[in-house]
Amino acid sequence: MNRFQQLVRWTYPRWVILMGIILAIGVMTFPIPQITDPQTRYITLDARQFEFAPHRIHINKGDRVIINFTASDVVHGFYLDGYGIQARVEPGVTKQIEFSAERTGKFRYRCSVSCGSLHPFMIGELVVGPNEPFWRAIALVIIGLFTLLTYRFLTKGTSYEYPTLGASPA
């Protein structure tokens, strides 16, 4: 076997990994077209110890969002991950928050004013569809898994070295 054949033999199963990486990069960067027309969404969001109602909001990319933010018990806050929007509201007062949903994915809104023991865990979820990051992550997992299994299938004849002293097949 000459050097070239040796190189081909060595690289052969590893091409699977390279293909997997290329496919993963493709999936992570492939542009997903907008399929819904932007709308204006009016949402009433109430904060109380230690939850938001509604606790999950679905909108679409490009939507104009107008949130009427209220508090039922004590002073609460609103901070939207990824968008950096902040607000503070006192009981009996309605605060209006407006923004355009330009980024897709799941973004947590949190209470930003210390409101009691579970304040750091007072969380709601805004899902801006299509939820690209989630579906890309799922695709990444499947591609990774498929690549690994294919690689293992192609190298199944390779003897496996037990890396630690004393370990042996049961």
């Binding site: 579970l118 750091p120 898994l145 293992r152 199944k156 630690t164 370990a167 097949p169």
Partner: protein
Amino acid sequence: MIKSQRINVFQYVPFLRGVLRSRLFQPVLTISTLFFFTLAIVTGLFGTPVGNRNFGIVFVWIVWWGLLIILLVPFLGRLWCAACPIPVPGEWLQRRGIINRRKGRLSTLRWKFPKRLRNMWLQNFGFLGVAIFSAIILTRPEVSAWLLLGFSLIGIILSILYENRVFCRYVCPVGGFIGLYSLMSPVEVRVQDPQVCATHTPKDCIIGNEYAYGCPWMVFPGTLERNTYCGMCMECIKACPKNNVVINLRPVGSDLMVAKERRLDEAYKAFIMLACALLYSVVLLGPWGWLKQWANMDTLPHWLAYAGVFLLANLLLLPGLFTLTALLSQRLGRIQLPLRQLVTDYAYTLVPLGLTAWIAFSFSLVFTNGSYALGVLSDPFGWGWNLFGTTESTWMPFGSALIPFLQTGILTTGMLFAVNTAYKIAGQHTPNPRQALRGMLPVTGFIMSITFAFLWLYLG
């Protein structure tokens, strides 16, 4: 073969051996952490009851936790155990000293720790016992302080009764999972040549000598093959007259393949840790307020229901599903191994998955709440002090747009590592690679489902 996959750090950083052989090494670490530990207890007991304004909560459950699970355990294994302040007062009492090696045996009542408890079960149940109160412990400074104080008192009592670090080895709920996840660490304390230890007498690393104590973790370095029970206190490096104990760098997760030391108690630790990571992600990071209230003990019946489901999921549901998976694997791969052994072996695939799940959970917890640390640094009691001028710093999540991507990356890495481990473990059970591949498929399905569940919770 071992040497080809290990890099002896002392060869490249010779002064490190001198540092680790110094009797000051561990006391410098422990005295530093003991200062912060004491401050955490005092601020917890006497400071503000507002958790995110109290040093005891912010520095223990955000700063320390983040450092531990994101950096220390994955990269340095059990090194935290060498610095941990909890067993330190008890150890000092045993040794009747802090730095120098005092002559004579350890000062204890010399009771024998029961054989049936020399495993991880106490740590498993201890962790669950703490976990079902986690919503309260993580947010109430006083409760958190009493818990830390309680750990320390148990450590002292056990040090009076038994020799060495019985608390760390068999009781500490934190030590259990650090031990399990340190199997993944790329750092190990090992002997260079096991033959030297086999023939050398006396065994200074066990009984101690004028320079060092015998291994406080009751481990013989000469036959040590896994990180789980090595507390990295470096006493063996000090004690070895042959300079045979070294620090190695090694491939990540090497210990997972040590077949002969796999045990059901450790397997259960892997189940419990994975289930807890999943449940914490639901309860603490999820949007369901009623669930948080139940965990927060708004009423006793609610909390009892929550605790019941929590325990059921940890002790029966996840292990039960995994047992079914192993059964399927046994049939598909035609593996001639008792089911219990197969479940135990395959459970080690959940170690990389569990560790990365905890890291993903902690990214969210630590990056979001880390900015509280600045405020409590200046005002640890929440009494209005301004020691370093940072009291008025406002809460601001760090990298909130980046967190989902970090979580995706770390979870995918953990899943692939877990699946690859499943293949290797299946390969230990059958010499036929095709059977190994078939055998690992159900476990792969289980691992993938758990990964999808985490991704849905964080991104979906």
